[in-house]
Symmetry: C2
Subunit: 251 residues, 2 copies
């Protein structure tokens, strides 16, 4: 296979699609210039490992495009996804030498990376970066806790509906920037295989498949192919997820 890791991708920070949501969101022009000097891009193909748990982690970075997943694995092979990394999400922990989780490219993936030491130095004298990272970490903590409720207390059907809700909501905030209302059917593609969904939800892939079929038969969603989903009534889906229909706190 062609190793794409070494590809050089040139991109100005000012035109970066994640400029205003990533760890650099609050940086001023001069700060951005310094970041620009130490950044480099890496590409991964779908399915490729980005980092192995326990390995030395000599870089940190942001997801620019594509999706990556954070997973934990037990000795006997049971695995649980503990995070879904979307564009602008941050990978790596300043101050820690080794990776705590496996990071896998779920789709083709582009990351904007910094070697750890220069980044940590910049963080020390650039409050804007540390502030933004704190904000992002607090958001992730909220998302993780939200997910604990899903894992601990929801039924298989509710779990699927919850996942679909999250993906639909994220897609909505991405696409319709203008406040074109949340009415009408919502359409999106599942970025995950049935197995990845199962790992996310603490289910087996068979149960995921069955519950998706059930939601389809009950008219909550409709499918074209395996991955293309239409949600005719978003409120209905959220009821199935067991959430308040007035929308969660998290975006």
């Amino acid at each position: 296979m062609f190793n794409e890791r070494s590809l050089t991708i040139s991109q100005e920070c000012e035109e970066c699609p994640i400029r205003h949501r990533a760890v650099c969101a609050r940086c001023e022009t001069d700060e951005l210039e310094r970041l620009e000097q130490i950044k480099y891009y890496r590409k991964f193909e779908a399915g490729q490992m980005v980092i192995w748990s326990g390995d030395k982690m000599d870089f940190v970075g942001s997801v620019v495009s594509g999706i990556a997943s954070l997973t934990q694995t037990m000795e006997d092979g049971r695995t649980q996804m503990v995070g879904l990394l979307l564009p602008s999400d941050f990978v790596g922990r300043p101050g820690r030498a080794t990776a705590a989780y496996d990071v896998v490219a779920t789709t083709d993936l582009v990351m904007c990376c910094f070697r750890k030491t220069p980044f940590e130095e910049m963080m020390a004298n650039t409050p804007h970066i540390a502030q933004r990272l704190l904000e992002m970490t607090l958001d992730e903590l909220d998302a993780a806790r939200e997910w604990m409720l899903v894992l601990g207390r929801k039924t298989a059907r509710e779990k699927i509906a919850s996942l679909l809700t999250i993906i639909a909501r994220r897609d909505a905030t991405l696409h319709l920037k203008a406040g074109s209302g949340i009415e009408g059917p919502i359409v999106f593609d599942l970025p995950l295989t049935r197995e990845a969904m199962a790992d996310y939800l603490g289910l087996t892939l068979e149960t995921v498949s069955r519950q998706i079929t059930a939601l389809r038969k009950d008219g909550v969603i409709s499918l074209e192919g395996k991955r293309h989903v239409t949600v005719p009534d978003m409120e209905r889906l959220m009821e199935e997820a067991g959430d308040d229909s007035d929308g969660g706190l998290l975006v």
Copy 2:
């Protein structure tokens, strides 16, 4: 009942039991003096609500002694504990106006509080506080993700063993400060009711009770009363938890 909230408790930061682990851990003497001016203590009795989810949250603070829990509740009453707050843990989110979770005093509780606005102002010009808060938040995120594996993939027996392991480990790091080895039996009291354990583990209280009985019958633990636990062989307990026996990353 006697309302203990208004009690004044005087305590010097320098002599504070959580001085070196809490959000103020990195503060210099002068920074500590400023914190001392805006801090105040609050006491809660076991079972008392500290904050209701959705309520306006006009303070933040640290747990000084006792245990509090963070819980989420669904409309139909299902509840999931999403965090266990031990001494030195931080409560509240700078930058957010309302509480995202219920906070309940699980035992009698003392908190060191700051009104939110003055604290946020201090944070803005005291990097030591923001740095420490970032560190603590990253630790909490790790703990939450560890817990996602427990909730999503472990059996009831493994869940109980995991909880016991966490409590035992924490108790060990608290008590034997000198490196007196991790050999020999470990003894501690459960700070949670069976119901609270169930809420933490995503189980019913009956299942918790049955699995504790099973672990006792199998000699993994022994009990005096309902709450006093002896672990004769810590390694055995960790095997039951499904963890690597060589100890997790998290303390």
